[in-house]
Subunit: 324 residues, 2 copies
Amino acid sequence: MACRDLPDTGLPAEFGFIARIFRPLAGHGALDLRDDAAVFTPPPGRQIVIAADAMVESVHFLPDDPAETVGRKLLRCNLSDLAGMDATPLGYLLTVSMPPARDEAWFAGFATGLARDQQEFGITLLGGDTTSTTGPLVLSLTVLGHVAPGMALRRNTARVGDGLWVTGTIGDGAMGLLARRGEIADRDGYLAGRYQLPRPRLGLALGAVASAGMDVSDGLVQDLGHMARESGVGAVIHAAQVPLSPAVRALGPQWLPTCLGGGDDYELLLAVPPGHEALLRDHAARQGVSVTRIGQVVARAGVRVLDASGAEMVLARRGWSHAM
Amino acid sequence: MACRDLPDTGLPAEFGFIARIFRPLAGHGALDLRDDAAVFTPPPGRQIVIAADAMVESVHFLPDDPAETVGRKLLRCNLSDLAGMDATPLGYLLTVSMPPARDEAWFAGFATGLARDQQEFGITLLGGDTTSTTGPLVLSLTVLGHVAPGMALRRNTARVGDGLWVTGTIGDGAMGLLARRGEIADRDGYLAGRYQLPRPRLGLALGAVASAGMDVSDGLVQDLGHMARESGVGAVIHAAQVPLSPAVRALGPQWLPTCLGGGDDYELLLAVPPGHEALLRDHAARQGVSVTRIGQVVARAGVRVLDASGAEMVLARRGWSHAM
């Protein structure tokens, strides 16, 4: 709110734009977006969890993606980061760098999507900034949540002997992107929907159930590699056990590598001690979320993916190479 | 950390880039930037203050501004938002959307600047995201601070009879931008320095001293207009009392309107009851910051700027029109 454009590139009447588009999304601590910062009282006895992600048009979403789902996907990617640490969402801040040609109607749709998800996830907008840019639309979102002290799930605490589990199904997001590009059939739009609208796996209360956890966003095999390396262990997964949706299965087994390395899943990857498996199933069932055991944590470093015959699969692409 | 690029636009070896450039900036709660979110324990009995600002190359900074000052300016703009609410900084998150041509050396300088300011202001990097973009470099920063409950300075609580005060000098940032563009002389670089490196007025402990406060970033007269309107009052300022630096005074009185409407000051504007003036001077003196009374809060709506003869000045430009 404090930094300004250089002369001659400022957006006209931006205060009115903010009032019309973003003020309806603002919650209590946002002070109606009238001050330069938001103020809130942290839930007593809790730690704060905070994450930030940016999305760039034509890089992270397609120019013809509906404005409503663009806002929701950005929010949900961030909520998935909270889910990966077993945190409960509190609110978010948003910065928007907009090209001059982008009209207000687009942002009205964008805000409509955010409003829907605010209601679904029980959060509000706390603040942010709008600026102009000569390049593509850039959206950056910071999400805040809270967690019981010391109970945040970490990715560096997997232990040899833990089972490896995932929520939901893997590969729908990667296949949904191919569907959006017309490279595969997607008659009922299920896959495109999974790509455009991830489902952050919040509320599973796994802090005392799993040894380690993270959300799968850059490709299952690559993300598992991070968990294994940072935990000082290795991992074996059985490709035939990786849960695929009926829509992906119908496309044929040749797509399995794409699913294992594709990214955009926003499911949780969990390392769970054998004694906690019943607890895991119970917590997941209460939220209506499926959980599937796909392998185990082993001492030997690296991630090995085994096919149905027990032979190691060689994957050309294990995931996406950038994150912070 | 969770959202990824579409195929063929990903940055190579981004994990290494993060490790080299940003991990050295990470503090305790950042979990070494290895997880998707940061976790921290809020200071007991305090409220959290949070603000976000974005800067776009060629919009908010010049392509030939040194990388080191670009990072510091972004951080300081956000810290100035905290100062405007009398909050104490805790840490920050950063998202970077970078064009392919930007080399790592630029970011090394950028990080060097951030490291210097982290030390100066006692904060660390908590997390963030890096992505690619086809447009100009976009930097978005979210800053976190804390404040005693109910003591955050607000801009909507100025009262008739309060004096209006500013810290430091007004107009150096606006004149510094003109100097950077070669439109005015700036032999020793003082003005350019003030434009490139604002000084957030943290630590003044004004929550119980001022009735209202905010940082001046979009132009003194415009920002005062916000304070007055949102407080349901008006304001009168005396142009001759507005503190100008020797460098600005040397350029001549014709630049006064530029200073009053120019923006990029990052000084504090305060409404202070007459009984608290000694306290204000005392708090400011302890931080080595000058404070100057420039006018008063009145009942009549609007902001009037009076010249030395008491006649109302008409300003063509009162400030910048966008903020959130």
